[in-house]
């Protein structure tokens, strides 16, 4: 039976302190401060690379949306003053740093014996600021981080 890649990625992500310390939702939006939402993306099969031995290089992509309460306080240069919005952005950035670190360590999700992961990476160097949700109290800043996993699928090999 094929490995459930979504479950494998969730099992992997919850080892990340940034994710572990905040509620994580799967394909669901719970717009509250400090929550993460895991959204699956559809990767076009035309991006697959077919190799002559029957193996196929594929890309699995997903996006993490993070909500952080936003403060309408100007950024000021006062000693010891920390702007909440800047600080929250750093929190979200930690996920990107963690993904890069895991890639260096070759620590990947488990996609099963027929798949070999080559690389996990974020598609951007920093989270994308999607805007402010002002319908909530307090207003929420919305950040997104897209992550892609490049792997080789060996399930169609005939040479064993």
């Amino acid at each position: 039976m094929a490995t459930n890649k979504n479950q494998a990625v969730i099992d992997y992500l919850i080892t990340c302190p940034t994710i572990l310390n905040s509620p994580l939702y799967f394909n669901f939006i719970n717009a509250k401060d400090d929550t993460n939402q895991f959204f699956t993306d559809a990767t076009d099969v035309y991006t697959n690379k077919n190799y002559i031995d029957g193996s196929v290089e594929k890309i699995y992509t997903f996006t993490i949306i993070t909500f952080k309460s936003a403060a309408d306080i100007a950024v000021v240069k006062l000693p010891g003053h920390e702007n909440e919005n800047l600080s929250d952005m750093t929190d979200v950035q930690n996920l990107i740093e963690w993904i890069a670190e895991q890639n260096e360590l070759k620590n990947f999700p488990n996609f099963g014996e027929d798949c070999e992961i080559e690389e996990i990476s974020t598609t951007t160097e920093e989270p994308k600021f999607e805007g402010i949700d002002e319908q909530t109290s307090p207003p929420l800043a919305v950040y997104s981080t897209s992550i892609q996993i490049r792997y080789i699928d060996f399930s169609k090999l005939i040479w064993r």
């Binding site: 077919n50 190799y51 002559i52 031995d53 029957g54 290089e57 005939i158 040479w159 064993r160």
Partner: protein, 173 residues
């Protein structure tokens, strides 16, 4: 001997993975167990070019007569990425480091046409002994590419292999 049929449903195309190239060699003079490795991991496209030497003459009636004097089959694998566990990459890199180019002609290469035959009767194969596998360059961008060319000897024994894995047994016709 009758020509073996293509073992596919009518009009079904043969998948590229059914045409398999396997390199074989022995390590050291005392070893009798051959090392084998399928070629084409992470290669998207590779064909055997026969490089036929063709001579065509036309008589006074305008009729063409074409002779093929010889073929010099060659197959390129580009990219041939250096992958963990690849014994052939290790072997060729060792030769490259020593510039021992005379050792490049010690390979036996099998072409297995897995669309002919089956697991019961064996898969059609041809064995070329005394082939040369040459490395063409080494480098690349994000991964080390070590593209190679296989020069087939045309010293051919036809036969079958009993299975599609490195430990196959080749049986001559």
């Amino acid at each position: 001997m009758a020509v073996a049929p293509i073992n596919l449903p009518a009009h079904q195309r043969a998948e590229r993975k059914l045409l398999i190239t396997v390199a074989e060699w022995t390590e050291g003079s005392g070893s009798s167990t051959p090392v084998r490795e399928i070629l084409g991991r992470r290669t998207e496209d590779s064909s055997i070019d026969y490089n036929a030497d063709i001579e065509t003459t036309t008589d006074i009636l305008g009729i063409n007569y074409t002779d093929i004097n010889r073929t010099q089959p060659q197959q390129d694998f580009d990219p041939f990425l250096v992958l963990g566990g690849s014994q052939l990459a290790a072997k060729l890199n060792d030769i490259r480091r020593r510039n021992a180019i005379s050792e490049l002609d010690q390979f036996t290469v099998y072409i297995i046409t897995a669309f002919i035959g089956d697991a019961t009767s064996g898969y059609a194969a041809e064995k070329h002994t005394g082939c040369t596998i040459a490395y063409n360059s080494i480098g690349g961008d994000s991964n080390v590419n070590f593209p190679i060319s296989v020069y087939y000897s045309n010293n051919i024994t036809t036969g079958t292999v009993d299975k599609l894995s490195d430990d196959f047994v080749f049986t001559p016709d």
